[in-house]
């Protein structure tokens, strides 16, 4: 019975999609159904975390075909925690969407598409098969393509076009890499690929496919030098959509990178460690410099996604138990905080009609509660103790000091300061400055009650504080997850119980 815990976070959103399509006539059904199914998915994902933490690995061989012949679904602690935190964002943004997504978008099936997105994201986290991962990526992408461009405004279409083209290109590279890997190993099961590579005397022949996958996942994750689609498109759709994209989509790329280099390509890792390290450093620096040069809240935040991705990939490049634990902790912290900041930018747009920092101001006086709710995630992102971002950054830097990677540590600290600088810029311009009177911006007609926007933001802010003050259980969990990642043998034996031990 417990093994089926793995299927609920995938099947519940799918059931939700079907239900909402059947009830497409009534917008009330769409709203209530969207929130209810997102909430159920979150509950199922919490149960999955609970089950996985007890059992270490939960494996299902779909259709009763034994691995490596069938498709395996696998949950270890890392994928379980990713599913849980994504589903948490899923429910938070679904509630937020009640008061931001207008009737036209609801009639264009906003909520069914939103649930398809969650369905795809959760599937990508839980699959144990490389080709199946490609399919989940496509499920997630097609939903995100439509969500991004459904408004039909000029900016959305243009940003959407860039987003779609580059992501399609990345999928092609993924497919090519998976195809080559299949040609060489004769299997697509990730555990089996890992086993074959570990048993091979010299695994260099897999280097070409590993590079194709690195570029493909790097493109999806928004790593340097492939990130240009991200800041060109994430600021165009409604805030609820950018928030869920910012929180989830790039992290699926990061997850896939972690999965491939801690499981499948372990024997190749020494070859690519230096490359990943430099990509991570350059991702951090270019991202934060882009953010520092911008003057629009959502563009600044988009560039910060890029720079924060660098920290997580840095954890992968260090590849020590502490570094991986730090990276997992960072992922959880970042998903919550970044989603929250995009949600806040949506409230700013609702109150002031724009989130261009030159046009807004005086929010500290007119909406002091919003100032507080912005302050918490913003300064958590900047790494101010005792908020969650401080511990995440602290752990990454400590891991870097542990292996004496001074260049990376310097870059991480410097980028932290610059992050703080651009957060202070938003704070000073949007909240402290007087409202500039020369500019008249048309405030859009509000859709739903403001409370539906504020409640998710408040909940996410509180979880940031809680992770900051009482983060120890989460960090201990991250450490256990990291220990699992560093022991690919455990994963291989869980999926393929019959194969022999991998020789070290």
């Amino acid at each position: 019975m417990n093994a089926y815990a793995l299927l609920f976070p995938i099947l519940i959103p799918l059931l939700g999609v079907v239900t909402l399509l059947l009830g497409a006539r009534s917008l009330q059904v769409q709203r209530i159904g969207g929130v209810v199914f997102a909430a159920l998915t979150f509950a199922a994902s919490l149960y999955l975390v609970f089950v996985v933490d007890q059992a270490d690995y939960v494996v299902i061989q779909l259709g009763g075909w034994e691995a490596p012949f069938g498709i395996s679904m696998v949950a270890d602690r890392f994928s379980a925690v990713m599913v849980a935190v994504s589903s948490f964002m899923g429910i938070a943004v679904a509630v937020y969407a009640l008061s931001e997504i207008d009737d036209t978008r609801l009639r264009k099936f906003f909520f069914p598409l939103y649930l398809v997105l969650i369905f795809g994201v959760n599937g990508a986290f839980l699959t144990g098969d490389l080709f199946n991962l490609y399919v989940w990526f496509e499920v997630m992408l097609i939903a995100s393509f439509v969500l991004m461009s459904m408004g039909g405004e000029k900016g959305e279409l243009e940003g959407g076009l860039k987003y779609v083209c580059l992501n399609l290109l990345s999928s092609m590279m993924f497919l090519a890499g998976a195809g080559i890997l299949y040609g060489k190993t004769g299997t697509l099961n990730m555990a089996d690929i890992a086993y074959q590579l570990a048993m091979a005397e010299n695994a260099d022949w897999a280097l070409s496919s590993s590079m194709l996958l690195l570029v493909s996942f790097g493109l999806k994750a928004g790593m340097f030098p492939f990130f240009f689609w991200l800041p060109a498109s994430y600021h165009t759709p409604p805030s609820a959509v950018s928030a869920v994209f910012a929180g989830l989509l790039t992290k699926v790329g990061v997850y896939a990178l972690f999965r491939s280099y801690t499981l499948m390509f372990v024997p190749l890792f020494p070859h690519v460690q230096e490359i990943i390290l430099w990509l991570a450093i350059l991702t951090m620096i270019t991202g934060v410099l882009g953010a520092a040069s911008h003057f629009d809240m959502r563009r600044i935040l988009s560039f910060h996604i890029v720079s924060q991705i660098g920290y997580m990939v840095l954890g992968l490049a260090f590849m020590t138990p502490l570094a991986l634990a730090a990276a997992i902790f960072y992922l959880v912290h970042h998903i919550i905080v970044k989603t929250n900041l995009f949600l806040v930018s949506g409230v700013v747009i609702r109150l002031k009609g724009s989130c261009d920092l030159a046009k807004v101001g005086g929010l500290c006086k007119s909406a002091p509660w919003l100032a507080l709710l912005f302050f918490i995630p913003a300064f958590s992102l900047g790494g101010i103790p005792p908020l969650s971002g401080f511990w995440a950054k602290f752990a990454v830097v400590k891991a870097g000091i542990g292996i004496e990677s001074w260049g990376a540590v310097t870059a991480a600290l410097l980028v932290g300061v610059l992050t703080l600088y651009s957060m202070t810029k938003i704070w000073a311009e949007a909240f402290w400055k007087q409202q500039p009177d020369a500019v008249a911006v048309e405030v859009p007609k509000p859709v739903g009650h403001l409370a539906w926007m504020v409640i998710p933001i408040a909940v996410l802010s509180i979880s940031t504080i809680v992770i900051g003050l009482f983060g120890e259980p989460l960090f201990a969990f991250s450490e256990r997850a990291a220990a699992q990642l560093l022991d690919p043998q455990g994963y291989i034996s869980a999926v393929l119980p019959t194969v022999a031990e991998v020789s070290p």
Binding site: E138, K154, G155, E158, V164, L168, Y182
Partner: protein, 115 residues
């Protein structure tokens, strides 16, 4: 046969990248389609090519007579073709709308959301 297909895959990728680098958005779509066909062909060939040896089990036997063609890449490539078909249809619609909104098919006119 394989070297010929390999050459074809290379040509498809090269032509696709060349089209991607052109300035017209229609050629952008053509480039993506060509690359996607190249990737499909690559997956298809990855199992090795064996003419006239389908993986069909004779009545009464439990395994097809060796050597037989690997059916898995064919299943995968079918999936990939269907996915690619859907995405291309969406991309064409998006390009059409974006062209209406921006009023130009030159990629350089699509710089309003850039940085």
């Amino acid at each position: 046969m394989e070297p010929l297909i390999a050459l074809l895959i290379g040509i498809l990728f090269a032509a696709g990248i060349y089209s991607l680098l052109r300035r017209s958005i229609v050629k952008l779509v053509i480039g993506i389609v060509l690359i996607s066909q190249g990737a499909n062909l690559l997956v298809f060939t990855s199992g090795g090519l064996l003419a006239g040896r389908p993986a069909l089990v004779k009545a009464g036997a439990t395994a097809p007579p060796a050597p037989f063609g690997d059916p898995l890449p064919q299943a995968m490539v079918l999936t990939a073709i269907v996915i690619g078909f859907g995405l291309t249809a969406f991309l064409l619609a998006l390009v059409c709308r974006a062209h209406e909104a921006v009023g130009d098919d030159d990629i350089n006119a699509f710089d309003n959301t850039d940085t």
